[in-house]
Amino acid sequence: MKWRPPPPPGFLAALVATLEHPLMTVAMLGCLAVAMVLGLGASPGDHPLMGPWAQVALVLAAFSLLAQALRGRPAVPTILWAGGLGLAAIGAPLAGGGLGTVTLGAAPPEAYDQGAGERPLATHLGGPLYSAIEGDAVDLRLAVKDAELGAARLPLDGSAGGPVGPRWRMRVEQRGVAGAPTHIRLKVRARAGDGEAQTLRLAAGQATQVTTAAGVVRLDVRQISPDFGRALGPAAWLVQSWPGADGKPASESAWHFVQGADLDARLGAGPLVIELLGVEAEASPRLLVARQGQPLVLMAGLGLMILGLLAATLRRTA
């Protein structure tokens, strides 16, 4: 004979009666459906499934089905499915939280916006995140000076994600629009006339060294403007630094213009003659970032749900 728990009194009885009514399951699943439709417009990190009320609806739906299964005939498939649903609800936050976004640019970002809704929280990644776009993928490298914390190569279409170091996992969310200028193309040659001209492509904030017969010259890209003073066209602020004749460091800081390519040759005094060839804007991909977690509980829950559904099929067939 099947054991049944004694009927609870008063308020508890009403609660149990409500919980085990099929309409309770339907109502909770309906709430979940509404939450998922609302989630279609949510920012990364703000999806309703991460919020408590969608998870409460999930757990209540699971409890409701369990109550129905315990009230009627022993129903192993229902118990398996409802148990799996509860496990998946518990496992979802364990599989990794702290969702947010970071936009890659010429300067490597060191933090991402966690919960990119109205009040994102800037969360430090542990070091600068260097990136380079190679064809249809972006190479990521999280590093502090020479110590590499993590690296990954992710497809730009967002079809796959991957771990970047021990703490984070990342995935491309948007390839991004080429907006503000990020790179310059320039031709440099020694003012003394020795050596051949070199063509370089440098990012904003980047520095490089050019070797001439007179010594090594450091070239810094301080700023890039798409239209200097809204009248003079594309330009870049460049700084040349070199060891001076008396041993003291010397430098020349100047804006260079695409539409005035011969200005530096005529008026400049630095060891390099710089000819700015063009200003380029590179697309800035936006990445989804999350803390690494353990997806085992979530997957076990989903597995139990599938098992329950297959058991239900076999049971009906039998």
């Binding site: 279609l40 990364p44 999806h47 739906a61 390839r175 907006g179 804007a281 989804l288 997957m299 239900a312």
Partner: protein
């Protein structure tokens, strides 16, 4: 096959099995109405917003990258010059109306399913969803050339003194495939209800009802694949509606003794699965 299409296939199997076996065709007319309402609400949420609130505009893309035009405008008394990168888009004036009609006819279908002919109650949302799919399909597609950019600037930057603009090389396309797929998926998921509504007796043998738990299991596996495909769950909108469809479909599989409620849940899950496929 992408995980969201697996979810859609699971929902299609469940709908097919449930509707064709059902003794009560009114329940499935009601399910079609619910699919239409969920699809209308979801499409409204996922459709890219236009320049003004309450409007929809399809973004232009070259591959996966947004297509932009760089415009030079002048402003102020001293005619100061500014350069902007403006993403191209195509406004869809009729889309909000079409989605409103879809939602309204879905709602009307819910009432007519109980009071009037289930055929009429099913035809209305199916026709409206097909109309929405047609609207999005017509607006999608390739574009190229100066004339298209000029048309966009006339619509979007009316009153701004545009001095010059650039034309993206090689042409671009207006990306409405996802919205078309979602609306088309909703139509496909409502068709079994329409077939059932047209026939007085069940179309398939009772054993075919197994398709509901089997479809739910397939949808759950698809949702799981989606969560694992990118190194763990990200809860993107597509992840959310795929998991929602799988859970609601699974819940429906265990309400066998309540065919009306079961059909309603399968209808809701169908709407979510169609949205997952298109998002």
């Amino acid at each position: 096959m992408t995980p969201t299409l697996v979810v859609l296939a699971g929902a299609a199997l469940a709908t097919l099995g449930g509707a064709l076996v059902a003794a009560d065709r009114r329940s499935w007319a009601l399910a079609a109405g619910l699919t239409a309402i969920v699809a209308a609400g979801g499409l409204w949420r996922m459709a890219p917003p236009g320049p003004t609130p309450g409007t929809i505009a399809l973004p232009a893309k070259i591959g996966d990258v947004p297509a932009v035009t760089r415009v030079v405008v002048t402003e102020g008394a001293d005619a100061r010059r500014q350069v902007f990168a403006v993403p191209l888009s195509r406004p869809l004036g009729q889309a909000p109306l079409a989605l409103g009609v879809l939602g309204a006819l879905g709602l009307l279908g819910l009432f007519l399913a109980r009071k009037r002919s289930p055929v009429v109650a099913t035809v209305l949302p199916v026709g409206a969803a097909a109309g929405v799919a047609w609207v999005f399909q017509q607006a999608s597609g390739a574009a190229a050339g100066e004339a298209d950019v000029r048309l966009f600037l006339e619509r979007s930057l009316a009153g701004v003194d545009v001095q010059s603009f650039t034309v993206p090389e090689g042409g671009w396309r207006y990306a409405g495939e996802g919205l078309t797929l979602a609306a088309g998926g909703a139509v496909a998921l409502m068709l079994p209800a329409l077939v059932r509504a047209l026939r007085p007796e069940p179309v398939a043998p009772p054993a075919f009802a197994q398709a509901i738990p089997v479809g739910a299991a397939i949808a759950t596996a698809g949702a799981g694949m989606g969560l694992l495909a990118a190194a763990g769950p990200w809860w993107t909108p597509a992840d959310g509606v795929a998991v929602g469809a799988a859970v609601v479909l699974g819940g429906a599989a265990f309400l066998r003794g309540r065919p009306g409620l079961q059909a309603a849940l399968v209808g809701v899950a169908g709407g979510l699965a169609a949205l997952a496929a298109g998002s």
